[in-house]
């Protein structure tokens, strides 16, 4: 395989990998606080994208994105207030079912609020035809945007969870909710904040990837499944792991295209995930001992 071609496959892998990664990061925030997986995370992306697209028709792009992020994060808070708080002692099974129900509900509401048609935001820099030539291979500037935004989010979350009081309180909730409560942390508010934060990050992700992937009422589910795969691959709760996992899955898929029929692409990435789950459920960057202690 000539070098340019190999590089092009790598770029293609990075393009889809960066999309998976930015979705996976959103999963980690709620997981880090509550220990639950929010199956409706994909719908936050869709909501963010759709809202920004609708707002963009009468305000500039950055403002539309900002407004979409705020609106979606309000939706996240609302979901916590209306649904999650009502669950008294949620088991994992119940949470999985509730969040799946939420995801279906949001999707169907979006179908009736907007319609079945596909939309997208304009490219942040350049247009549909712009591409950057790096050593003979080409990449869209929007991919760099996605990578950049993922990087900023990871850095922000790292600082947030390590150095701010709120961030640390949220982590305390995840490791032992009773102990956290005893330390005077308002655990319920922490859960609300985590929902707002992950909705906001989901919405931002939905806006950044919209020019590449386009946005449709039902685009959330397939993105969420990929994002979930990547989050587990990288180790649940680990944002750096999510980015690395995303790029790995993206690259594997791109390479598989060069030798296998494209039709089985998704089956391959899921099969890899299953193997990892069986062999090392804590993921690539997760701590094995931590996973063993966690109660599921």
């Amino acid at each position: 395989m000539p070098f340019e071609q190999l590089l092009q496959y790598i770029f293609s892998g990075i393009t889809s990998g960066s999309i998976y990664a930015i979705v996976a990061i959103g999963f980690n925030i709620i997981y880090n606080t509550t220990g639950i997986i929010n199956f409706a995370q994909g719908e936050f992306l869709m909501l963010g994208g759709m809202t920004a697209i609708s707002l963009h028709s009468f305000m500039p792009l950055p403002l539309a994105i900002l407004a979409a992020v705020i609106i979606t994060s309000a939706v996240g808070a609302l979901i916590d207030f209306i649904f999650i708080r009502r669950l008294k002692s949620p088991s994992v099974l119940n949470m999985v079912i509730v969040t799946i129900g939420l995801s279906i509900m949001i999707r169907e509401i979006a179908l009736h609020v907007w319609d079945e048609k596909v939309r997208s935001l304009p490219y942040f820099t350049g247009s549909e035809v712009t591409s950057i030539n790096i050593m003979g291979a080409y990449i869209s500037p929007q991919v760099l945007w996605v990578l950049g935004v993922s990087g900023v989010i990871v850095a922000f979350l790292g600082v947030f969870f390590r150095f701010t009081l709120t961030g640390r309180s949220m982590r305390a909730c995840a490791s032992n909710i009773t102990a956290a409560r005893l330390c005077g942390i308002n655990t319920k508010n922490m859960v609300t904040i985590s929902f707002m934060l992950s909705a906001a990050i989901g919405a931002l992700a939905g806006c950044v990837i919209s020019p590449i992937t386009q946005t449709q009422y039902d685009c959330g589910t397939s993105l969420a499944i990929k994002g979930f795969t990547v989050a587990i691959l990288g180790g649940l709760g680990n944002s750096t792991g999510a980015v690395i996992g995303g790029i790995i899955i993206g690259l594997l898929e791109a390479m598989s295209i060069s030798i296998m029929p494209l039709a089985y692409k998704d089956a391959i990435s899921i099969a890899i995930l299953l193997i990892i789950l069986f062999a090392r459920p804590s993921g690539l960057l997760g701590k094995r001992e931590a996973a063993g202690l966690k109660e599921f």
Partner: protein, 362 residues
């Protein structure tokens, strides 16, 4: 069988027969079509109830087992043996008398494998796959279990969708009828409707009897102990891994049998039967039925599928299922059909009647 089991079973059987007699008398036999389909879907749900409600193991990939049953029989019984008469395997099949001849929709005769053989193949295949995949999957817990079963479902969906043998996106159509013994046949012909209703009902009742007995037996108690606390169960000497695996395989076989029969009844199958959304709707119905409540799951399975298949929810079909999931989980995790709810209903009814009476007296 204990009395507590056979009384409800007798009531169920009576209901089944009464319904048929009533709709036949009213000349409304077409209601039976969707009821037959719902009965097969309820069979999947029954199996899943034991897995989820009693053994406490979630499966977001049960549609895959249904699809494996349906697709196996679809592939095997639509393969025209006459076209490959020279093949030694085909010779063997014909020599053993495992083939049948049917007339297809265009009036032509086709020689194909007997659906009995494909039923056996489908069950064996599904059980083997469930067994092999169950060993590693059931070691996982919580989200990892959910994700792994979901992943398994997606893989089966992708294979079905991407393989020419399975008809890709169009699926497989024009299946022959499944001729059982004595003139009984599973097929879409309107003339077969009443007997198909009874075939489906028979399978459903048989499934209920089998599962209620299982739950009341020693393995059933072991399963409930797993749901309560797996560690404690293990400590008490329950081989949790083995019990979980057996129930997983059993519920997969239930789904597979339902898949085989429904595919012959429908005369075809498409990839939508293997979709994730389908698995989710099975889980939703188990939850509505009250998780560890076979009768609840049975009733809700028949009712909700029936309404959905008749198109009552219109374009809000998925929305309804999403809402059901949330509402049930939030407000009545015990399910809809529990005594308390009936009591509330009765109370309210009595109060309304009393009020009306009071109003009249004034």
């Amino acid at each position: 069988m204990r009395p507590s089991v056979y009384i409800p079973v007798a009531v169920l059987t009576a209901c089944i027969i009464a319904f048929q007699i009533i709709v036949s008398a009213l000349n409304r036999e077409f209601y039976l079509t969707q009821l037959t389909m719902s009965a097969y879907y309820s069979l999947v749900i029954l199996g899943l109830t034991v897995l989820m409600g009693y053994a406490g193991q979630i499966s977001l990939g049960h549609a895959a087992f249904f699809a494996m049953g349906g697709y196996t029989t679809a592939v095997l019984t639509t393969y025209n043996l006459a076209g490959a008469a020279g093949n030694p395997l085909v010779k063997l099949v014909v020599g053993l008398g495992l083939d049948t001849v049917s007339t297809n929709a265009y009036g032509a005769q086709t020689q194909h494998l007997s659906p009995w053989v494909s039923l056996v193949v489908a069950v064996c295949l599904t059980a083997a796959v469930a067994f092999l995949i169950g060993i590693p999957i059931l070691k996982l817990k919580g989200h990892y279990l959910a994700m792994a079963t979901l992943g398994f479902g997606i893989i089966v969906y992708r294979i079905v969708l991407g393989t020419r043998m399975f008809g890709e996106a169009d699926g497989i159509s024009d299946l022959p009828a499944f001729r059982l013994a004595g003139g009984l046949a599973v097929g879409g012909d309107p003339g077969l409707r009443v007997q198909n209703y009874y075939i489906a009902a028979f399978l459903l009742v048989a499934g209920v009897i089998l599962l209620t007995n299982l739950i009341d037996s020693r393995p059933g108690r072991a399963l409930r102990s797993i749901h309560g606390s797996e560690e404690a169960a293990n400590a008490m000497g329950v081989n949790t891994a083995r019990y979980k695996l057996s129930v997983f395989v059993l519920s997969a076989v239930f789904a597979c049998i339902a898949g085989v029969f429904l595919t012959h009844f429908n005369g075809g199958i498409g990839p939508s039967e293997a979709e994730v959304m389908k698995s989710v709707s099975y889980v939703a119905i188990v939850a509505v039925g009250g998780m560890a409540n076979l009768w609840g799951a049975l009733v809700m399975g028949v009712v909700l599928n029936y309404l959905s298949l008749r198109g009552y929810f219109g374009s809000y079909d998925e929305f309804v299922f999403g809402c059901i999931l949330i509402v049930i989980m939030l407000f009545m995790p015990e399910g809809l059909l529990i005594k308390e709810n009936f009591r509330i209903l009765a109370d309210t009814a009595v109060r309304i009647v009393n009020k009306c009476r009071a109003g009249k007296q004034e």
